[in-house]
Each structure stands twice: as structure tokens, then as C-alpha cells.
Amino acid sequence: MLKKLRAFILGVILDDYNFTTMRFTIKIPVIAGIILLATLSTSCKEKADNIEVTTYEPQVPKADTTAIQPPKPLKVYSNDTVSVNAYEYSGLEYYLKQKNDTTYVVNFWATWCVPCVEELPHFEKINAKYKENKIKVILVSLDMAKMVETKLLPFINQKQLKSQVLLLRDPDADSWIPKVDSTWSGAIPATLIYNKDMRKFYERSFTYDELEKEISNFK
């Protein structure tokens, strides 16, 4: 538990470093959070000295989504070699709200989006390199329905994409863009990185090094 708290505090501190380039208003609650957490962590330690660890270890809640099955796709698009599940936002949401030990890197892209296609190899590399380190890349395609069979499936084949590809087929974008992140204007590429403790959204492109550095903050 202490380890978890420390990791969490570290996460918040690292986060604060990232925030320094942004507006100062965000720092106050973050700093307040660090102070509060530091206090809590100390008091927690004091308690830990007095109480047997075993008495409250079982109280640590288990990941609460393990019992929930992935949602049924709206449609499954497939050709001879690849298959892509299409979801409305309500189905996709499952993949944006996992609470387990894995850090999820969710990239919103489309085959026709040049900067998206340029950064895809970075996401593929992350997915391959950190497979054993509980990091999972999900590529959410926003290709239009009529392009799925002619563009998206052949693209996955041709580029030999190994990360999981999902199709978000929900043209009422105003209904779901703010649910992915309230700061998202709707431009792609965009990326959501999250685990059970942290969540950050990026409406921008990444170089490989930038992406790897961002993800390293989530450990």
C-alpha cells in the first residue's frame, strides 16, 4: 500500500513537471495534492508500524472490471487475414476505462490522416517493446464506414499492424468527444494514456522519444 502511495505521489510530481509549460493555475491543486498525500503517506506509515499488515492487506480492492466482458461489437469487419470490431462510443468506452495493472495507450487515428499514419510506427514499436511490461496499445480508427473494407482492412494488412485496432463508428461526434476528454477539440491525431491511477489526453502528434517519455511517467 505504501509503495502504491509513493508511486502515486511520484506520478503526481512527474505530472507536475509536465504541467510547468502550461498555465500556472493547474499547479495549485496539484501541489496541494502532493502535500496532502505526503501527509497521508506519513500517517499511513505510522499506522503501519502499529498494526499488522495482514489485517488490512485483504481489504485492497481487486480490479473491479475483471468480471465485465468486452462489449458486443456493432459489427465485425473482416477479410481473409484481418478482422476489426466496430463499436459505437458506448461500446468503445469499455476500452477507455479499464482498471487493472496495465497502462493503456489509446491512439485515435484514420488511414487518410497523414500525421496519424506517420506516428503509427511509434505506437507499434511501443506495443512490441513493452508487451511484457503491462503496456497495451489500442488503435481506434475513425475511418468512415464506407472506407473500412476498401482502405482500413488493406492498410492493416499492408502495414502488418500488431496492436489491437478498433473502429469507432459513431458519427454523432459531439455526443462522445467530450466523454473521451473535455479538452479535446476533435482534431486527430489524438492520444489517451491511462492506467488505474492516472489519465492524460494529448491532442497532438508524437515522435517516438516523446511518446516513450510520456508513457514512462505512468509506471
Partner: protein, 202 residues
């Protein structure tokens, strides 16, 4: 222990909420929008103030290459046709840097405007100076302005409607509803929406 976890979560949520409340750059509804002088596909410069009899403007940041912009092209033409006579002409601006996006070059813009018989200005944001002031991030991205004594007031920011894929399946015509309200002298009800678009290449 649970309390500590709960508190930690609370602090985290607080930090997140504070982060999210940071205002984006660019115009908000109610702001006064800048005028500009940008080169039209006919070679002449166009400014908002040139439209003496206009009551306002439907400023659309759009371009040639983006499939979302293409999907909305006919709907943009229809908007101009419907609202120019009511005092709200369409002013289309290509915000992309042609050096980064060859399909959005001035020559290609001229081609597109001719092929599709654009009856509205299709301007190039040379040097990419105007779109950041508006705060446009993608194409298509609409700003509806109302001409007032104070200047051109932003009345709506966002999407054209709620279905980029299928014009026939549209349920909410955001831009039409907003302009209809303005023409009738009413308040715009849905002032801001979000839509998927191609990020602007400056």
C-alpha cells in the same frame, strides 16, 4: 485505508478537474472576432467588412484534402445558398500550410472552387496567421459571427451538424439552427459543439 484511497482519488480528481478548466486559446462565444484580408481563389483579397449588407458571417475553416471537409463540401455550398440572401454568407478559409499539405495549395484550391462552383470566397490563410486567432484546430471548423456595433461577435463555434458520414441521417443541424435563430433575432441555443476533423497543418 479505504479513506486514504478515497482521499487520494479525490485529490487526483481535483487536480484533473483543475487541469481541464484551463481555457483553450482562441475565441469563445461572445468574443469579438478579428477581420482579415486574405487572398481569394480569384486572386483578389477579401475582408469581412467588404460585405456591406451582411448581418453576419458563417466562417468555415475548411480545405481540399481532408475527408471530413470533403464530406461537408456540398453542405457548405448549401449553407451559402440558403443564408447568403438572409444576410449570412459563407466565408471559407483554408488554414493549412500548402508546403505541408500539397493538396491544399492555392492552385488546388482554385481547381476545387471551379469544379464545385463555389459561390462564396475560398481564402488562403497565408502565413497561417488568422486561424490561431480564431482558435480553429481542425477542418471543418465553423465560427458564426453576428455583425454588431461593437464588431463581429462570435455566436457559435463547432460542427455543421451531427453526422459527418451521412447528410441524410442528420438529426441536429447546428449551423442552420444557429443562423435561423440569429436571423429571427433570437438567442442561439446550442452555442458550441465538437466534431472530428483533420488537424490543421501550420
Amino acid at each position: 485505508m479505504k479513506t486514504i484511497k478515497f482521499l487520494a482519488m479525490f485529490v487526483a480528481i481535483g487536480a484533473l478537474a483543475a487541469f481541464k478548466s484551463v481555457a483553450p486559446v482562441g475565441y469563445k462565444v461572445g468574443d469579438i472576432a478579428t477581420d482579415f484580408s486574405l487572398k481569394n481563389v480569384d486572386g483578389k483579397n477579401v475582408s469581412l467588412k467588404d460585405f456591406k449588407s451582411a448581418k453576419g458571417y458563417i466562417v468555415v475553416f475548411t480545405c481540399n484534402h481532408c475527408p471530413y471537409a470533403q464530406a461537408y463540401e456540398d453542405r457548405i455550398i448549401a449553407l451559402d445558398k440558403k443564408y447568403k440572401s438572409q444576410g449570412y454568407p459563407v466565408i471559407a478559409i483554408n488554414p493549412n500550410n500548402p508546403e505541408k499539405q500539397k493538396d491544399d495549395s492555392f492552385a488546388k484550391m482554385q481547381e476545387r472552387a471551379k469544379d464545385k462552383k463555389f459561390a462564396f470566397p475560398y481564402l488562403l490563410d497565408e502565413g497561417q496567421k488568422i486561424f490561431p486567432q480564431y482558435g480553429a484546430t481542425k477542418t471543418p471548423h465553423v465560427y458564426i459571427l453576428q455583425k454588431t456595433a461593437k464588431g463581429n461577435v462570435v455566436k457559435y463555434i463547432g460542427a455543421i451538424d451531427d453526422n459527418y458520414e451521412d447528410a441524410a441521417a442528420v438529426k441536429q443541424k447546428y449551423v442552420e439552427n444557429a443562423v435561423d435563430a440569429l436571423v429571427k433575432g433570437k438567442e442561439v441555443t446550442v452555442k458550441e459543439t465538437k466534431a472530428i476533423g483533420c488537424s490543421i497543418k501550420a
